[in-house]
Symmetry: D2
Subunit: 366 residues, 4 copies
């Protein structure tokens, strides 16, 4: 019921504001005896870390994670793992403008209306800094998955920036880590660099689409009706800041297909069932098929821009605002490791749920 928790058996609660002393994640339900240290988590945090190139915010944060509990002699103990990240670059600046005015596209106005109080510095709780805690928690999930399903791989990438989509014929998993956009299409990386630089210089921003794929997930994860694994993936991704849409497999494209084209035909392979295609995105009836689990989510353009926008003040007066500061021209870039982290959390949770409710898959084929 907690509004700041996610997951069922593997349950993550994040806490903290952009400009408070620290933020973090309380991670409960990690199985015991999983090898874990801060360095393993730092790897993923460094992917999300700001200030790494000119395409992300210039805020300088070490984003160093400390493990305060739940690990003993290098292994998880089955008790809650507290992950804390100190905020170090709370640059002193004049916040009087955003204290009084609501930035369009931001949560300023809704937080104020609901709570009547908000830590306006850097967006407070609604800052994208909160996603650092998710990435740390996702790192824990990854290690636990590794212990359960060693060859399961979760990879995120950008497949669209503004109106520019990748060419799927160019898809190369190896490319993803080689460009600042986490895209598998080297040509797109090159094109986007110019496009985004131009937007950045003009003080504007742009949206993006991120794809996250889980390869080698076993069949059988998820449950009918409200416990569908795609239900949890949809919730996980939609809960990320700035996300406005989520789709599985063919997604919105499935709306345009006929039944004949959409239904992935089934064949018997050497290691069990195989499919002629994967419109389903690896999920049928809410339960994984053993194919790649494929999801995409749409990230809106960063709302903090150097363009003058109309708004109002707390006292209801008409005003204009320009959001100065250190902002990502395409916040979708840093959403890639966040999407991966959420997928890792969902998959570990469903591995545990499946084991709890069923034990092992009950139905053999062949």
């Amino acid at each position: 019921m907690s509004m700041n928790s996610f997951g069922h058996l593997f349950r993550v609660t994040t806490w903290g504001e952009s400009h408070g002393p620290a933020l973090g994640a309380t991670v409960d339900g990690c199985p015991p005896n999983v090898p874990l240290d801060a360095g393993m988590l730092q790897h993923w945090l460094d992917m999300r870390k700001p200030g790494q190139n000119k395409y992300t915010t210039q805020r300088q944060e070490a984003d160093e994670v400390e493990i305060l509990s739940g690990v003993f002699e290098g292994k998880t103990t089955g008790t809650p793992i507290q992950l804390m990240i100190r905020n170090t670059d709370q640059r002193s600046k004049d916040y009087s403008d955003i204290m009084e005015k609501f930035r369009p596209g931001h949560a300023d106005i809704t937080y104020w209306q609901k709570y009547g109080i908000r830590d306006y510095r850097g967006g407070g709780r609604s800052s994208a800094r909160e996603t650092a805690a998710r990435v740390a928690a996702g790192g824990v999930a990854r290690e636990a998955i590794k212990a359960l399903v060693p060859n399961l791989q979760i990879t995120g990438c950008m497949v669209q920036m503004g109106p520019h989509k990748v060419n799927r014929d160019n898809w190369d998993w190896e490319q993803i880590a080689r460009n600042p956009f986490w895209t598998p299409d080297a040509q797109a990386a090159s094109d986007w660099a110019d496009y985004l630089d131009s937007l950045r210089k003009s003080g504007n921003s742009v949206g993006a689409v991120v794809e996250v794929v889980a390869r080698n997930a076993p069949a059988g994860l998820g449950a009918p009706v409200y416990g569908k694994i795609d239900t949890d993936i949809a919730a996980a991704m939609m809960s990320i800041n700035a996300v406005k849409g989520v789709e599985i497999g063919a997604g919105f494209g499935a709306a345009e297909l006929t039944g004949e084209d959409n239904a992935d035909e089934i064949y018997m392979g050497n290691n069990g069932p195989t499919f002629s295609s994967n419109h389903a995105g690896g999920i049928l009836g809410g339960i994984s098929t053993g194919q790649d689990i494929v999801c995409r989510f749409a990230v809106k353009p960063t709302s903090s821009i150097l363009k003058t926008r109309k708004t109002i003040t707390k006292s209801g007066e008409q005003a204009e605002i320009i959001t100065k500061g250190r902002h990502d021209p395409c916040v979708g870039i840093r959403a890639v490791p966040v999407g991966e982290a959420m997928m890792a959390c969902v998959i570990l949770d469903h591995l545990l749920l499946h084991r709890g409710l069923i034990g092992e898959n009950q139905g053999a084929i062949g």
Copy 2:
């Protein structure tokens, strides 16, 4: 934690299979003293009921709902409301084919693998009949909402069938109830009729996009991070059978916008803040703004088609299958009242959560 429950304070658990004696919903958390009788729920069930025209399955189900508990002298008592719908048209037929073979695009293969047992008659628990229970529960939510926010309105409609989108210039709320497709565009209704009839006759099916709008929802519903109202809407819609994507406001279209174009400017109106546009779909930072809450979801084409498809049997042998029977050529049509019902459940739940956690909105403007 229940895999068959949805919601936090207003919590719905559905139960039942397509060809069992009955199905229904256990509705917990409805406030007391809400006027309620079976007739109020029947209105919404009749919208979803099969067999009403040639565009939906010809299965004949009265879908009559009985209220077994939680209502006394025409009002809710605050205790669980049990809604039961008897299955009456479990036509005896030969199920040997689908008992042994997995229908492509259906949950047959994943249910079998996970559970090792499934009620294969009519899809069992994965049948779209389950959504009747959701519609009944949504009817309860609507009555409770009426008592709390009388002018709040939830309306669903079809905005795309296959590749054919509505023309938003033709949008007319009054049209929705006047055509078999629940579409606000009279021209689209006319065009789709021919299109779908042709698909139906060829034994094929097609996907669709459904839009659900909540008008006059108050500002302040939802919470940061995992308690976002759009998180719950995404989960709600993705949990509906055959749904493959969900988006809020501009949705995937937001990925193509610049920050300048996307951020809805804010003005001071007579009754509080107003916005120049609604790319946000009525939600900022997970909290409602007071604008229309707008969501869309993609429904894949019905997987049961009269086309021969390749598949395998439980014993792993290669086979072919044609799914005979009484199927919807565009299951998106009957998804419209289901989407409305889920939206009603989410909104009531968040009205109660907001009241519980906050009481009333804390921050005044102006």
Copy 3:
């Protein structure tokens, strides 16, 4: 979050009022492939059934349970199991007295104040009839336990009626089913018969203490802090109507012991650790030890008595009331199968949680 649900992975939601058309339980999280039919549940319902002898209410209820979902060809499918019990003996009587006056010791006054509406007939939702649904759900839990830990046995019995305790030297498990009080002490059964008959004739009632023991439960069930198995047992038993106290092992008696006397010494047996005594009631640090899990709960005397008591009316006037009707002189008797059912639900839930979170016990001894 549902106020009418219990359990985590194995989750039971009961519904229904004493004089409505039916009551029942929605049982979610039962593993698949567990043999189940209504007859198996009826066995336990018959234990709790009213009207079996002069020591329980003379209301005549068949308490016949129907399984409406979740079972196919005699086995559970892993989907929700809906259990419905029709109310058949809603004797027409004049309720005007209890409609206006609050019966002391009953929930009448608090329900009225909170909800402003209540089904006053027979106590409505607060009637002990609700426990029939628990017993049915407990029957499902028992069958699922049998599939997981075949020799696990759950047995409840009465160990005290009013001030009269059993003599533990007379303890004989076989006696429990042979007397109307479910007591293991034949001498107590004989003594209590006279005692209770005299109370019954005078229109009075009396309290009791029930003990529930789970034998052969494996070590390792439960979790530290809030997930302790004794936390869930305490909640389970305290949620039963009329229960005012719960204790584990030595319970309140442990308050009188010294550390030297209380700490059960540990020895190495042929099949693992054994203990010199069981003051802990089979639970250390919230986790089962493999010893008998022992809990006791106190049941207050039936509040419906033929004695005149002072009370007030809804309009605030002073009044007197005598609760005529068909009441149990010692409602503790029929609480025995209810306590067993709750223990079964808790243990199955923790078997599933343990399997989900841990898999198998990780630490070997010897």
Copy 4:
């Protein structure tokens, strides 16, 4: 579902081990605009702090709490409040004895069997140090309650040490803070001092009974069946280390009463209903009556004693153990503020649930 969380709308997750770097509580669901600073919480922590007199452990812990999030300019913001307490007195000592041997009465053996790993230093997660986090969280709950129901008071006290009960005729609320045992009976305080000193010197320990009373709680808190406020109180108290029993009102004493004696008669007072007595402990049918909410819980004697006890080692060999170190001779003393904290959490949670589900009490009397 988290095993380390407690509560529904007001939800506390504790984390940390006795000898790790820190421990704390993640507090979610606190309403916004509640005045809060670390000093307010420190007051309650100081009550529980070890080393204050010879009757509690001599471990020296400042137990200083830091608020890392959720508070802005001295008020809660409605976002998660992270409370951290550094462990400062992790005295270096030789743990080889308890690393290999299981201390009787402790969780050592069950943790080992379940998890196969445990932080054995000072009991790790099962240490009573965990309760510091509860007390801090309870301090937050108290401040939030103060904002909602200003005159509600929660007070705990010891009513029994070993076999020695307080004389209720001596009850004086003012005495509680004036003696090291938090007892309202000055005579008992004097007697217990000698008794406990003698036990302490002999290296033994003893159990206790703690009573927690909530005065001026409004009528209407709680819900039927599993949402009873006494269900949550029972779970809350049983989840505290070393607690073996919980009772409400007359509790186990109610088992000995007749219906005539037990049912509290109702009268009409100037400010609503009053009762002739309070056997119900302020709760009828799971819902508060407006009377004092009264609960008691039994605390077993400290298991760490200087007496030689039989046990086994991890390798299954027979052994003896003496638990040296800094231990409480009567851990019930420091359980008093912990019980108060848990009561505060339950009551705040139910205040919010009541407001969410009902709004305000619906039924007037008179």
